[in-house]
Symmetry: C2
Subunit: 350 residues, 2 copies
């Protein structure tokens, strides 16, 4: 085994949320969109299930990028498509991290960043968030080689303050700054414009949440063309499969469906938050498609109790997070089932 | 740009074969299978184009691995699925290469290995092949951290001698040895069994060629469970998309279709070789789904001439390869068109 890197052998892998086989679970544990993909997307993908699957995909995903460019209102040369935004983020690490470099992240945040840093042999500097919407001063002046943050952040759902993000960009002109906007479509504002203002900013986006396409694996990097060209050198030639590219194209085109489902999720989020508070939970104000909340009965107890009822939510065990649960914003029926089971062990309601 | 790694900024990216948009080309340039995927595969994938595409795929690809295990006659714990074997190979590099390590490859071979080594900051030791089926003695005793070879090799199509491969494994017990068998289904024999004999061997396989699924991106690593477990730590959680996994499952199950199409390609390969020789080409004996051959009229001239006729073949420009062209084994109609155009500028036929 000595042929593997020491840091890989010692690594604790990223553990994704439980993916049950079959349909008998209510899945509120991995922030999927409760709505199916647009019917237009399904029709369009079905048409592409044809004899041409024997051919490699277009390495540049030109058709997909054209639609993405319209949606993001940027040029297609400012975008790279990936096999999920996880792949995009992983490519960024491969393009910029040397062993011994420093990666600055917040705590809490999406735990994949730390895993990727460790795979690259980087040291991770974690900045503890006191207020979930504010970037700590020490991080703003960190000057780490790579600074990566998620806004809205996981698992709290809070978006960072605009002034802080701008200050961070202003103070780290030589760092690569990555803003992971996987949840930005559910937020009041987003930071896509920053890549135009700062050469060294890459925004990542995902179609897994707001486009209901987690199963198709589509994510994007948006940045200056110069940066995109470097990332293209590192990516596998055919990283997005034919049906994935087609699903993405069709989904970007059906703007109406996107708007309608995103609006519904935001309304459901407000409904869920209101009812969680009625049951005595304390909730972070969410800008994402999930709510991070502290249940009165205890987080581990609630998670275990619901699992027996075939309702999955997410419970993280590190630090103060362990008092909280992360509940994805399902549809009204799923939220109803969740709330009614939760009520049974959180009896503070009047 | 100083935030990117120096070696990435300096890197010449891997350049994939030209993928035209539309159907008006005869594509003999990227070793795709001329047959469509099995009708059973298309039917099965169509059924999976449903509302569940909003859910993440199974991170372990359990259903796919079960079928792969039956096909390869190994346990599913000995297999990892990837987004094409390119991704699998890239994960192996990430798991084992530190900056400054040495990667041993043959020349010629699949040029991606060199690109991946450079991305990782490794130095590449290239061993020049004199006989295309024999591994040079110096490589057999190389002791590089990672030794990677392709058998059948690209772009020559020649498989390596069994005794040489075994000797290589025997002499490099502390190296990681990767045998890329993307084309092995077209060969007389394969080296899958070696992972059982040697702890430090990983075999990679692809569904792009022999299963007609280049558009779906499916590849595998087959090795000791211990090695697979390390690779799993490095891979993105959801690297294989839902429809890809389903296509792979269905393709492994339709063994009859696989056998029939592979047999047809081997017969077409023999037909193509015979006719190339009649036209005065000198051909390497191919164990793959392409033929590497030296056209009497010159390789660049032939490639340019055919492109104007909307027939694509591959021409590599490095070293002695530049005298040759690589022609994928198409169907009989495609081969017929290719041969008849080729005859026009290679007039040595009697």
């Amino acid at each position: 085994m000595e042929y593997f890197k020491k840091e890989i052998l010692e690594l604790d892998p990223y553990i994704p949320g439980f993916q049950p086989v079959g349909n008998d679970y209510i899945k509120l544990n991995t922030n999927e969109n409760p709505f199916p993909p647009s019917p237009k997307v399904l029709d369009s993908v079905r048409k592409y299930v044809n004899r041409e699957l024997n051919l490699y995909p277009d390495p540049l995903c030109s058709g997909l990028l054209e639609e993405a460019a319209k949606f993001f209102k940027v040029k297609s040369g400012n975008i790279m498509a990936g096999n999920g935004s996880d792949e995009v983020i992983s490519l960024i690490f491969r393009a910029c991290i040397n062993k011994g470099d420093t990666v600055a992240v917040t705590f809490p945040t999406y735990s994949l960043y730390k895993v990727l840093a460790e795979i690259s042999g980087a040291s991770v500097k974690e900045y503890f968030l006191n207020e979930q919407t504010r970037i700590p001063g020490a991080m703003i002046f960190s000057k780490a080689g790579l600074i990566i943050l998620s806004s809205p952040n996981a698992p709290t759902g809070c978006a960072f303050d605009k002034r802080d993000i701008e200050k961070l960009c202003e103070s780290n002109r030589k760092s690569l700054i990555v803003i992971d906007e996987a949840y930005a479509d559910f937020a009041e504002e987003n930071y896509l414009y920053l890549f135009k203002k700062y050469n060294n900013v890459i925004i990542t986006r995902s179609m897994s949440k707001s486009f209901s396409l987690a199963g198709m694996r589509l994510g994007f990097a948006v940045s200056r063309k110069k940066n995109i060209d470097v990332l293209l050198k590192v990516k596998d030639s055919y990283n997005v499969n034919r049906l994935g590219a087609q699903a993405g194209r069709a989904a970007f085109r059906d703007r109406k469906y996107f708007d309608r489902t995103v609006r519904a999720i935001k309304a459901n989020r407000a409904y869920l938050a209101r009812n969680l508070e009625k049951q005595g939970y304390s909730c972070f104000p969410s800008q994402a498609n999930f709510i991070f909340a502290k249940p009165p009965c205890g987080a581990a107890k609630l998670t275990g109790f619901l699992k027996k009822k075939k309702i999955l939510i997410r419970h993280f065990k590190s630090g103060w997070l362990s008092g909280y649960v992360r509940v994805s914003v399902g549809n009204r029926k799923e939220i109803g089932r969740f709330l009614s089971e939760s009520r049974k062990i959180n009896k503070t309601e009047g």
